[in-house]
């Protein structure tokens, strides 16, 4: 067994085991660890395919950011994050398995069919020097990929703003606490720090009787 074959075999087993753990684990945190395993295996396969830069990016972005984000959310949700049992709904018990196996069968059949058309497998040719390196990748990214690259930056900014806007807590319905006494209003300081710059929230003499506190 050559080193390349061993690398492929090891990474494939890691990927498939990680994917199985991801979709079958009762506890979401185990699922996140399975996802991490799969991502690491795919980074190894990227190395085998001579995509060194992408392997590094895969580890930094996926293992470093995405999985950590998942773990954060699982931590925020606490025990309610799991367990979701497989096939809780009786009517959805067999259809997903059936459609998945059907998809896999059709894809394998298509691959065999394509392989049967030319009867030879497409072996990888040796690459030129610098294939997959940061230099070559950067040159391509800043020439052909310039516009998509800039659009990606815009996308990430919009995603960050959108995530904050969606995840921010809803505005509270509690009444604003105000100060009744004129002396305390003048010298006691604001009851809540956020009202400090909003003097309009303080009661006017007319409706002071209705204000709370």
């Amino acid at each position: 067994m050559t080193p390349g074959a061993f690398l492929f075999a090891a990474c494939s087993v890691i990927c498939i085991v990680g994917a199985l753990v991801t979709i079958l684990a009762q506890n979401p945190i185990r699922g996140a660890m399975g996802l991490l395993t799969t991502i690491t295996g795919i980074a190894g396969l990227f190395l085998a395919l001579e995509a060194q830069f992408l392997a590094a990016i895969q580890l930094i972005v996926y293992a470093g950011a995405v999985v950590v984000l998942f773990v954060f959310v699982i931590m925020l949700l606490g025990p309610t994050a799991g367990p979701g049992r497989i096939g809780e709904e009786p009517r959805a018990r067999y259809a997903p398995w059936f459609s998945s196996v059907l998809f896999l069968g059709v894809m394998a059949f298509a691959i065999v069919l394509v392989g049967g058309a030319n009867t030879t497998l497409t072996a990888f040719a040796p690459t030129e020097l610098g294939y997959g390196s940061i230099e070559a990748f950067g040159k391509l990214l800043y020439s052909d990929g310039m516009v998509p690259f800039e659009l990606t930056t815009a996308l990430l900014i919009v995603a960050v703003v959108g995530a904050i806007a969606v995840a921010r807590s809803a505005p509270s319905k509690k009444p604003v606490r105000t100060i009744k006494s004129a002396t305390r209003r003048m010298f006691g300081g604001p009851v809540e720090a956020r009202n400090a710059a909003r003097p309009g929230l303080l009661p006017s003499p007319i409706n002071e009787k209705e204000s709370t506190l």
């Binding site: 396969l45 992408l54 996926y62 995405v66 691959i111 497409t122 959108g162």
Partner: protein
């Protein structure tokens, strides 16, 4: 000798077809997880699995046509989009949990009727 037999006999990882088969298996596992599970977090992880399988396929095909690096560039953009998707998706999960006090996707049935 059938093509499948040939694919099994050749050294692992030296031909494109091995990567295509592996990516197909990973994509199928991701799709099965998305369909089987009712936990939104696990469903998001399954989407990540599918995106990773697609990335692997892009890089493998680029290795087969190694005169340019465009396939790897596409994989790079897919990684960036996946990161954005996960951040917004998890924010939606948190918001959904605040609304329904559960993260079962069966609870998201307001538009059903």
């Amino acid at each position: 000798m059938t093509p499948l037999m040939t694919a099994v006999m050749t050294p692992l990882g030296s031909v494109l077809e091995h990567y295509v088969l592996l990516a197909t298996v990973l994509f199928t596992l991701g799709g099965a997880g998305f369909l089987l599970r009712r936990n939104i977090l696990v469903q998001l992880m399954s989407i990540e699995l599918m995106l990773n399988a697609t990335n692997l396929l892009l890089v493998a095909y680029n290795r087969s046509h190694s005169s340019s690096l465009h396939g790897q560039m596409f994989a790079f953009f897919i990684i960036a989009v996946a990161a954005a998707e996960v951040s917004v998706g998890l924010a939606i999960v948190l918001s959904f949990y605040r609304l329904k006090s559960t993260i079962s996707s069966d609870a998201a049935d307001s538009l059903r009727h």
